[in-house]
Symmetry: C2
Subunit: 360 residues, 2 copies
């Protein structure tokens, strides 16, 4: 069915204003409109202006699907995180999404639940959508996942972790297979150093029986554990019975339970370093219920400086981690990679900070 298309603004069956329409009313070819709109050089400035004006007047909006089909790449970025129940990752997600959106990209989120199989499945799914880029938590991935990433050629930045620097002992302790990628772009901080720093802080406070209490036991938690071990061994106060490792997900309740158990079984413990603030908060609350005074009887320290840690009683001593900045910087780095640029610092260390409050 032909339509009389000699009107200046011919209508498609979909009623959508297309690049064709813009070209027609601007009096140039579709190719030129396409180039002008995307700010490609090699277009006459006057034409660019005209095209921009017309497309504005017409209220033209490029069709993402058509663009993706023609160019073979979409305008969305996939971000894979372990959980949404840990504020840490929500902060990461929010920051990354904000940065990406500003640059014109859509963020697609996948939740892996710390499960390599789920991670692989999600990645496979997402890859079918030809994401422009990939943000993925951690440096530890299954062989299959790594293969998928490499073969897809999709630019990728890893979050919250950095490759182990070759520091003898620590590197030796690290059971994680090193990524086979040529250049693993990543932004995070040294988890091991952070674990070590907090432990040294406790040591300086005169603590000698320092428990490391952890949940989830994901690779980053394990790195904190190594840092703790290193510091204790160096101080000559390491003891395997000081390790309380629970693979269950981290939560306030679990922290409370672990605290009760530790207090019951190891009355001489004088400090507990929890691998995450929710555990530590739960412990603080449990201490209150049990009438255990913190920090005089036992000091309590956490990790991440999550919401509420400063409001606890006593306020929680913890390690502040730059998660929002990680999200933003990683997004920015990814944007560079998408543009074909090479980041000056492929492994960005954003550091951490010991926040000394009253609980330790």
């Amino acid at each position: 069915m032909k339509q009389a298309s000699d009107r200046s603004k011919s209508q498609r069956s979909t009623g959508r204003i297309t690049l064709q329409d813009v070209a027609r009313t601007a009096g140039v070819s579709p190719s030129t409109v396409s180039r002008a709109l995307r700010g490609e050089r090699a277009v006459d400035p006057d034409l660019v202006e005209r095209v921009l004006l017309v497309s504005d007047q017409l209220g033209y909006v490029p069709d993402p699907a058509a663009r993706a089909l023609a160019s073979q790449r979409s305008d969305h970025v996939t971000i894979l995180i372990p959980l949404l129940s840990n504020t840490l990752f929500v902060d990461l997600l929010e920051a990354a999404q904000k940065t990406l959106r500003t640059a014109g990209f859509q963020t697609l989120m996948g939740v892996t639940h710390y499960n390599p199989i789920e991670e692989e499945l999600l990645l496979r799914e997402q890859l079918h959508h030809r994401p422009a880029g990939l943000l993925i938590t951690g440096l530890d991935h299954s062989q299959a996942t790594q293969k998928l990433m490499e073969r897809s050629k999709v630019p990728c930045v890893h979050l919250m972790d950095l490759p182990i620097s070759d520091q003898g002992d620590v590197a030796a302790l690290n059971p994680i297979s090193t990524s086979t990628e040529a250049v693993p772009y990543c932004v995070g901080f040294r988890q091991t150093d952070a674990g070590e720093a907090m432990t040294k802080y406790l040591l300086l406070k005169g603590k000698t029986h320092i428990v490391f209490a952890a949940a989830q036991l994901d690779p980053r938690v394990m790195q904190r554990l190594w840092g703790w071990r290193k510091a204790l061994k160096q101080a000559g106060v390491y003891n395997a019975s000081l390790e309380w490792l629970n693979p269950a997900p981290s939560s306030l309740i679990l922290g409370a339970q672990m605290f009760e158990q530790i207090m019951k079984q190891s009355p001489d413990v004088d400090a507990i370093f929890f691998c995450n603030d929710d555990l530590a908060q739960g412990a603080l609350l449990a201490a209150m219920r049990m009438g255990v005074s913190v920090p005089s009887k036992v000091a309590i320290a956490g990790f991440n400086d999550l919401t509420g840690s400063d409001q606890m009683w006593p306020p929680l001593t913890t390690v502040k981690t730059p998660r929002a900045q990680v999200g933003e910087s990683a997004a920015q780095m990814l944007l560079q990679l998408i543009r074909g640029e090479t980041p000056e610092v492929p492994q960005l260390d954003l550091g951490f900070e010991i926040i000394s409050r009253q609980s330790a």
Copy 2:
């Protein structure tokens, strides 16, 4: 440049396995493959089987962009929520996303920050991507936003709220413009009733000076306020000075601050009903620091039953809201709408529950 395409498996320049490839090796037309794959009726069962087998062997995956372009609708659903810093919405998001993903849809999230302008902007952006459906928080939207939704014809389900039932006084109090949509599909619960129920609970406990302390002041918070007013007026103990309304975002710290102020300025208050658990948790923590005993000196109640409320000391009495179920049910309802079905219950009330713990 022509390629010798007489090989059984001709290659595209992109190297991707296409529907064409499946058609060729299955010995049927592309149209048939398309129909068979999407489970359209009117295809010979034998052919369907063959097509499925071949596409499996070849590892064929439909191209979402091509599909979206040809069919004029994508496989993603947009969800608009106010904030990510309130666990409530994270729970909502996670549940909805999970349900949607199972049905083969991608979830695109937008954060409005309770800002009508941002909401409109996000919606406009998302609409360009031709979402298959829309999940949006609340029933309150700007005129422009409502127009956008209507004109787009995109199926939409509203979250966490229900239209005011015509109950005289309450309806009269409601300043929110009723949606002009023909059938506003929504799943939530009666915020007003929940506010009223908790207030009555406190009244039954013998409290007579019950403060309503609220932050953010979004429409749902205001509905809880009306419920509180209604109960107090009915009991003859309403007093405008009992309303503590702060437009700042809800947080633990704000709760602590509000608690201090209330205690200072109104020493005869015997109960405080906070509009959200984070405020109440902050108040509980402040009470502890200040040495104010809860609930004997003052009772404290919250709303939503967020993480940690059961771990507080004393444990927080609150209203448990079905946010995960809201996310799931709303997604399910949206899926029906996308399929062109009509939900039996267009306005789904999932209720709420008073959780009586020690704080009130």
